[in-house]
Structure formats: structure tokens, C-alpha cells
Symmetry: none
Subunit: 253 residues, 2 copies
């Protein structure tokens, strides 16, 4: 493998959980930033506009330039604007401001985010009928689930699969594990994919997704990690670290 | 092909639509029953207990012994009883009486029916968490959608796919097109699958499902049939008839 010349970091589950930094994460990130290796932040977080994410990271003590954060909703918005599409939004209410100016009474595209309670039968049916009329399906990710305080909850992926199966169509995923999404962040560092290391707690979207995009990858045992997740990744190609602090120590050794 | 010694009939779309018999269906069924060929009725209808279906058929003028009707909910109930399982029910409210006595506060199996509005995020999440704890997933069908008065609506299949993807499990479909379900009705006539003809209006669940279970099959151009449905079936192996009356005339000629 090539020497690592840049790092992509997932946010939730790698730097913090809930609204608290993970043990050692603040110091580890400071050390990584001080090493001179460029860093970009790549998140499927689908409940807040980028500005909010940046504000929350700052409140927790992370010093990160806002423009270094790549979000899945931002990638979806760029695709809608490029193709002149009007979205039917199945997204988290916190994200509504990011799309408000694109909404009309006659949508011609379905946008799937982390809609939670808004994944009602009626809303899913409305999306399904639009897809049957030929509308494209754009998703902010295809994760299976995420961890909430009271347990695991369904993420975008299951609803994407449901609508794809119902309408007999193939959606476009514009968050991780989309190679296009990873490569935009890699290109922003002026590097090639194979000289960059992606660090995440999601064996599929972060680690396998990065490997499939020719990016090196490391699974951290924090956040949504569960014992056995290693079985889903190619351990000959991916690293595994207990947490970001352990990885950074190893990387800078 | 072997001579036909028994017949399996789908109900909705073959004998009736809504609450009215199809043209010629009452006479055709009487003729078929009088021929001496045994008949069984096999339905994925997931909104009513068998008793209700029988009552509705009687009201329309069909004379059918209740015990000759095989329903997907009945097959699910039999599987729960066989394995001593307590269901978390995602089913149509009209079907609740069929399972009421099996419900407890500590379910250990997920049952998917045609839940409509009850396919809420909370209910799907509850089912997902139970699956992650190892509960089996039983479905009354895997159809993609059905036709309602105001358009197409999502059926069980998309939600089955969603939960299978989320939890990384494989559900068991106990309605059509499950071979086990077809074979239970065939065995009840004391026949072998290849000497029985399945008649239905659904090219996938009825016709292809029967063929895959080594049963002969006939698609009727009534009910949910749409021009082009023939393209989804193996026309070298399946018959096609305009309706039940035409098929019975042909069969008894």
C-alpha cells in the first residue's frame, strides 16, 4: 500500500457520540492536524445543515474549517440543481432549510434522507407513485441502521431498498458509500484515492465503501461498531483500531 | 404434462372483484365442482380472517366449504403455533382477531401482513430491533404493490425487503409464492403437485410461484391482470385464459 498522505474522517462515532467527544478524540484530532497531513470530514449525517454540524463540532471543542466538511445532503442538493429537479423530500425536519427554496407543488424527483417519523405509509406511497411515473430516486446514504439512545434505529437504506423493490427502479446514493462522494473529498486535498486513509465506525458505508473507491480504510471500534463487524470487511486490506487516538498514535509513530 | 386431477383457485380477481362475482364465475365454479375434480382455494388476502372471507363468498353466492380455503394468515398462524412463537404483528386491523390469543407483551417473532398505516417508523423500528435480537420474520406475501381506488399502493414485499436489509436476515414468506403454501393445499387433495392446476390473476405470485413449485398454472385475464403480464411468465409452461369460465369450458371439454 502507498504511504498515507491524507485522511478522511467520519464524524459521528469517530469524533463524538451524541453531543460529547469520544475519549481522547479532541487531542487525537489536534495531533493529526498538527502533523501536516491534510484532513477532510465526510459525513452522511442527515439531520442538520452543514452550518449546524460545524457549530456543534465547535461547541464540543473541535477546530475544523466548515468548508472541509463534506455532507451527503450537500451532494444531493448539488445533483438536484445540476439537473433542474424539484424534490419530494423524505428527510429529517432539521434538514428542511437546506432544501426549502427547491420545493414546489409538482415534484419530479424523490429525495430520501433520515426521515424518521416522516417515513409514514402515506409518504412512502406518495414517493412510490412518483417513482412509478418515472421520477429519479436520490438517497443521502444506504446505511442499514444507526444507534440512538434507546437502541438501534432504521436508517435510509431499508427505505431505499423498499422503494427500489416496489417500483422496480435503482436509486442513486449520493452519500457514503458512493465512490463519487468519497472522491470529491479526496480531490479537495489534491491527492489520489489510494494515498488517502478513510476512518469510520461503519464497516459497510465507511470501510467497505472506501475500499471499493480505491481508498485505504480503517475501522474504529467506537460509535456504532459492534463485535463481529470485522467479519463484513476485507481485513487483508483494511486496518482496525480501537479508536481515533490509537489510530493517530499508530499513524504518526 | 400430466392430466389435471385437481384445481387450485386464487380468490380475488379470479372469482370476484371488490364485492361482486366476475361475469360467469358463479356458473363456472358450480360446473367445476360438479365435474368431480377436487378444488382448493388459496389466497394471500391479508385483511380478513378466513371466517370473514367465507362469509363474503357465501354472500356473493359461491358455495365453498370453509376448510377448503387456504389463507396466508392461516399459514402464518399455523407456523407460530407449531414453533410456540409469540408474534409482534404488523398486519391489517381487520385481521387482528385471527391472532389475538397469541399476543403477549414479550413477542419473539415478527409477522408482516398488509399493515397499511400501521407501517409507521415506530412499528417498523420495533420489528427491526426484535429481528436484531434473533426473532424470526414471517410474511404473508411478498407482493410489490396492489391497486386501490386512488392508485397503486405499497404491499408487504417492500417492507419485507426493508426489514431483511436492515437486520441482515432472510424472512419466510408463508403466502404465495411460497412452495410450502401451495403444497399444503395440494396435499389436502391427496394429489401430487404436477397433477394440479393453479389458476390466478397474478403473473408472479400465482403463476410463476406455482410453476416454481412444480404445479401447472394458468393466468386469467381478469382482476389485477394487465396487458403485458404474459411477458413475466414462462408461456411454454403456463396456460392463459380470458377468465375462469373460459378455462373451465376448456378443462372439461
Amino acid at each position: 500500500m502507498k504511504p498515507i498522505r491524507g485522511v478522511l474522517l467520519d464524524l459521528s462515532g469517530v469524533l463524538y457520540v451524541g453531543d460529547a467527544p469520544l475519549a481522547g478524540a479532541l487531542e487525537a484530532l489536534t495531533r493529526l492536524q498538527a502533523s501536516g497531513l491534510p484532513v477532510r470530514y465526510i459525513t452522511n449525517t442527515t439531520r442538520s445543515p452543514r452550518r449546524e454540524i460545524h457549530r456543534m463540532l465547535s461547541t464540543m471543542g473541535f477546530r475544523i474549517p466548515e468548508q472541509e466538511i463534506f455532507t451527503a445532503p450537500g451532494a444531493v442538493r448539488a445533483a438536484l440543481e445540476r439537473d433542474g429537479l424539484k424534490p419530494l423530500l423524505l428527510i429529517h425536519p432539521g434538514l428542511a432549510p437546506e432544501f426549502q427554496d427547491l420545493v414546489t407543488d409538482t415534484p419530479d424527483a424523490v429525495v430520501l434522507g433520515d426521515a424518521g417519523e416522516a417515513f409514514s405509509y402515506d409518504n412512502l406511497n406518495r414517493a412510490f407513485r412518483l417513482l412509478m411515473d418515472g421520477a429519479p430516486l436520490l438517497a443521502m446514504g444506504s446505511n442499514r441502521y444507526f444507534r440512538e439512545q434507546d437502541g438501534l434505529s432504521l436508517d435510509i437504506g431499508p427505505f431505499l431498498r423498499a422503494l427500489e423493490y416496489a417500483a422496480g427502479v435503482q436509486g442513486t446514493v449520493l452519500g457514503k458509500p458512493s465512490a463519487e462522494f468519497f472522491h470529491a473529498a479526496v480531490a479537495d486535498m489534491g491527492l489520489e484515492p489510494d494515498e488517502v486513509l478513510m476512518v469510520g465506525d461503519d464497516a459497510e458505508a465507511d470501510v467497505q465503501g472506501a475500499l471499493d473507491a480505491d481508498i485505504q480504510a480503517c475501522l474504529v471500534r467506537t460509535g456504532k461498531y459492534r463485535p463481529g463487524d470485522e467479519d463484513h470487511i476485507d481485513t487483508h486490506r483494511a486496518r482496525i483500531a480501537d479508536d481515533l487516538a490509537a489510530l493517530v498514535a499508530d499513524l504518526l509513530a
